[in-house]
């Protein structure tokens, strides 16, 4: 599975953008199935498991990227010690289970990239989506990830059923959410890393921020 794909810039509701000028959404759609991970990705996960220790997990909240997400969580009414950001959630699971557990190629690619970059990444079933993706408050006031027609799920939460990648998924949208303190190139870098793991090359010539 090889090819070149581009990074898309998600839209941010104008009220949210005024409140959080640095809130950003980037995503990439790739052809991918929830198949077993290749040996090299499994080896990489095992290597990350070995190198990741309790001391790193304890210090994680002070690192720049997790720290930026923690601040943003407070600003949107979430307690980051209860609702963990993705980097802290995977580190908590690693400490509790003793290893980074493998699920499938898509989940493992995202897991490895979160461990490496700390960026909040997620996966969606792209075939169920009507592009473009964006972030806006719903009628109930809950900040959510949305597409042109649907609310996909709460921001930093699990996607609702039809949008979650499943055994029938053929295309996956990998999303990266940025907040104040996280430059956009870090989101692009994280998406490049996921694409690498999935066997794609992202078109780095095109700067998605220039539109």
């Amino acid at each position: 599975m090889t090819g070149t794909v581009g990074i898309e810039v998600g839209w941010i509701d104008h009220v949210l953008a005024a409140e959080f000028p640095d809130l950003a959404l980037r995503y990439v759609v790739v052809e991918a199935r929830l198949e077993a991970s290749p040996p090299e990705l499994l080896g990489q996960l095992a290597d990350l498991s070995t190198r990741f220790r309790g001391r790193q997990a304890i210090a994680l909240p002070t690192k720049p990227v997790p720290s930026a997400y923690r601040a943003f969580f407070r600003q949107i009414g979430l307690d980051p010690d209860v609702h963990r950001n993705p980097a802290e959630a995977v580190s908590y699971n690693r400490i509790m289970r003793g290893t980074f557990r493998s699920f499938n190629r898509v989940a493992d690619s995202i897991l490895a990239t979160i461990v490496e970059t700390h960026i909040a990444l997620g996966a969606l079933d792209a075939d169920a989506l009507s592009m473009p993706l964006g972030i806006r408050p719903g009628d109930d006031g809950v900040l959510g990830l949305v597409d042109a027609d649907h609310r996909i799920g709460p921001l930093f939460g699990s996607p609702e059923h039809p949008f979650e990648p499943s055994a029938r998924t053929e295309h996956v949208a990998v999303t990266a959410v940025g907040v104040a303190g996280i430059p956009s190139w870090m989101l692009d870098h994280a998406l490049w890393r996921v694409a690498d793991h999935l066997g794609f090359a992202l078109d780095s010539e095109e700067d998605p921020s220039v539109r």
Partner: protein, 150 residues
Amino acid sequence: MTVIENGAVDLRLVPTRTTRHEFHRQIARLERELSASLVSLDPARRPLAKPSPTAQPHLLSDAELESTRDALVARLGEIEALLVRQSADRDQARALLKRMSDAPAEYRWVTVTTKETGDEGCRTWQSVPVMGPVGILGNWWRIRMSSGCP
């Protein structure tokens, strides 16, 4: 928003975008300081987070932003107090270890760990009798240091 005489609005009291951004800035700073303080605190001493699983991400009102900031200030104060207590306990443990080393017989079977002194590793120092019963009968004690982490 406060309405003063003639129906005019006291603009000084109107929450502005700048005020909200200032709340955000304060919250981010307090959260960074809280995280840094928590890293220095022994995990066993950390107060448990109060679970609020029903909380959903939303735009906070001005009052919520203010109460979030104030709650962080209170929590930071709580953590700082725990850090002071931890520092005092560690000084006490180091002083005890020093006294034990100087006069092991006066601290029979007393144990001090690196967890108590705040040092790295997992060593244990204990005042034990030399040659078992012989040391007990002869009041001959020494400090035995464990070999380290399992």
